[in-house]
Amino acid sequence: MIKNEAMKIVSQQEIAASIYELTLSGSLVSEMNQPGQFVHIKTGNGYEPLLRRPISISSIDKENNTFTMVYRAEGKGTSLLSQETNDTEIDVLGPLGNGFTPEAAISGGTTLLVGGGIGVPPLYELSKRLTKLGVNVIHVLGFQNAATVFYEEKFQALGETYITTVDGSHGTKGFVTDVIDKLSDSYTTIFACGPTPMLRALESAYKETKEVFLSLEERMGCGIGACFACVCHTAEDPTGFHYKKVCSDGPVFRAGEVVL
């Protein structure tokens, strides 16, 4: 169930250039079940920023009633969030949306997890779940440059991990697709989250041969499916009136389900 809670900050730290890891505790955590869901966060304490900020859940710790997000402090809202200190409570609405279904990966087989920039965080909880299910995971994670790389060791601890950077300052120079093209295609399933061009590339290359699940991003109003801010056309009716809402039908869709 979706809940709204003033959650306590357990820890917040900058783990890469402008990339913050924030752990919150509260009873809302007990509602979190699926990797790839997100929360909607009110930053600041006035009308500015007015809108909440959607941030993916990057790991869930039910035992301690905490969950962790990883986000880039860039605009007004995320910058304010990054300044919050331990005494503060954060207004969280969630969990929202439909995430990744680890069950879609054939147990015992190999699954490819592809993340780009701030699309990487939700893959972490997913990868933990998959490995627990006995699925062999390969991670291909793309970043701008060495300074913005995060969670490399954490992913390495779960499975084979390739890093790409646009400027080549760490890992392979280029995009995630440059690495994927060279992988043996032993995997059956792809889970991906990142910029739309990356998702499009994966969709067009692997839609036919693999099970592909993509997590989308869109500017949001409500985050719960009521305002129609975040819709996309369905693939079956690409110019008609049928639609899916990224916030409540997604953010994760099967490749080919909606128009990217």
Partner: protein, 313 residues
């Protein structure tokens, strides 16, 4: 003692708080968060004769104390609303105000004729002020003669009272209000959004795919208050006020300006529990301010304080 009940044409409200059209869908999503029965009424998403996808995304952008939207009246169309949405809403003891839109007078007439016969639709809200559609929409809301004619046409077919939603994007809001009153409107709802725009720092291009969008939220509240203040003194039909309401204090300010009920739009995004919160806080605030009933606040900015509850019917 009930301090919040209000009677308006067609509407017997347990309290004067309702979600504004387009900010609450057809209620289902918020129904997962709290019991919709607490609401005074519900203004549901604009309905057009045929389903509409609306504008391309991005459809929202943030501004200082406000937001822009260019949804473009996306809705599942009249048939679906009659068959699915309204019956679902029937489980609640909440009057529905159906927001109707279209590109030509016939569209309004089609939707009004059918939707006004749904058992839980107690009033229509004529959306002649949507800034985000190419045809119709706002053009109906900026020319007094056109506005009057569409009001008359809808009145002729509607089974329930008709409220006309005014656009703030006009030189003379009083003239618009008087035109639709002359056209037979039973009430007014105001204001819809102000036309605005935001540009992206990197590309220089509009953030919204539709380029322009409607500005809502606390930023526009002073404009809404001013317009309601002017219009409420110039018409005899009641006003449902909206535009930037975030708190119980804001609600009182709208009543002072001349509103007899209010709608809450954008605030539902900032705080999805804002409507229940306001409904809970209002009686406390009213008592603190020395009122016995919220209707005593209506028009206090301009009336002589003798005559209360002027629209209490």
């Amino acid at each position: 003692m009930n301090m919040l009940n209000i009677k308006l044409p067609g509407l017997d409200l347990k309290n004067p708080i309702m979600p504004a059209s387009g900010c609450f869908g057809f209620g289902k999503e918020f129904g997962n968060l709290y019991d919709l029965n607490i609401l005074g009424a519900m203004m549901v998403k604009a309905t057009t004769p045929e389903p509409r996808f609306g504008n391309p995304t991005p459809r929202v952008a943030e501004t200082s104390s406000g937001m822009l939207n260019a949804i473009g009246l996306q809705n599942p169309g009249l048939k679906h609303v009659l068959k699915d949405e309204l019956p679902w809403l029937n489980q609640f003891n909440v009057p529905i105000i159906a927001n109707i839109a279209g590109s030509q007078v016939e569209d309004y007439v089609t939707v009004a004729g059918e939707i006004s016969r749904a058992s839980n639709v107690k009033a229509l809200e004529l959306n002649i002020s949507c800034p985000n559609v190419k045809e119709g929409g706002i053009t109906f809301g900026t020319d007094p003669d056109v506005a009057r004619k569409v009001t008359e046409a809808v009145k002729a077919v509607s089974e329930v009272p008709v409220y006309v939603k005014l656009s703030p994007n006009v030189t003379n809001i009083v003239e618009m209000a008087q035109a639709v009153e002359a056209g037979g409107a039973d009430g007014l709802t105001m204001i819809n959004t102000l036309m605005g725009m935001r540009l992206d720092m990197k590309t220089g291009k509009p953030i919204l795919a539709n380029k322009t969008g409607g500005l809502s939220g606390p930023a526009i509240k002073p404009v809404a208050i001013r317009m309601i203040y002017e219009v409420s003194q110039a018409v005899t039909i009641p006003i449902i006020g909206m535009g930037g309401i975030m708190t119980a204090e804001d609600v009182i300010e709208f009543f002072y300006a001349g509103a007899s009920a209010v709608a809450v739009g954008t605030a539902n995004f900032t705080d999805p529990f804002v409507c229940p919160k306001i409904i809970e806080e209002l009686p406390v605030l009213l008592k603190k301010l020395g009122y016995n009933h919220i209707s005593e606040c209506t028009g206090r900015s301009w009336n002589k304080h003798e005559q209360f509850a002027n629209h209490r019917a």
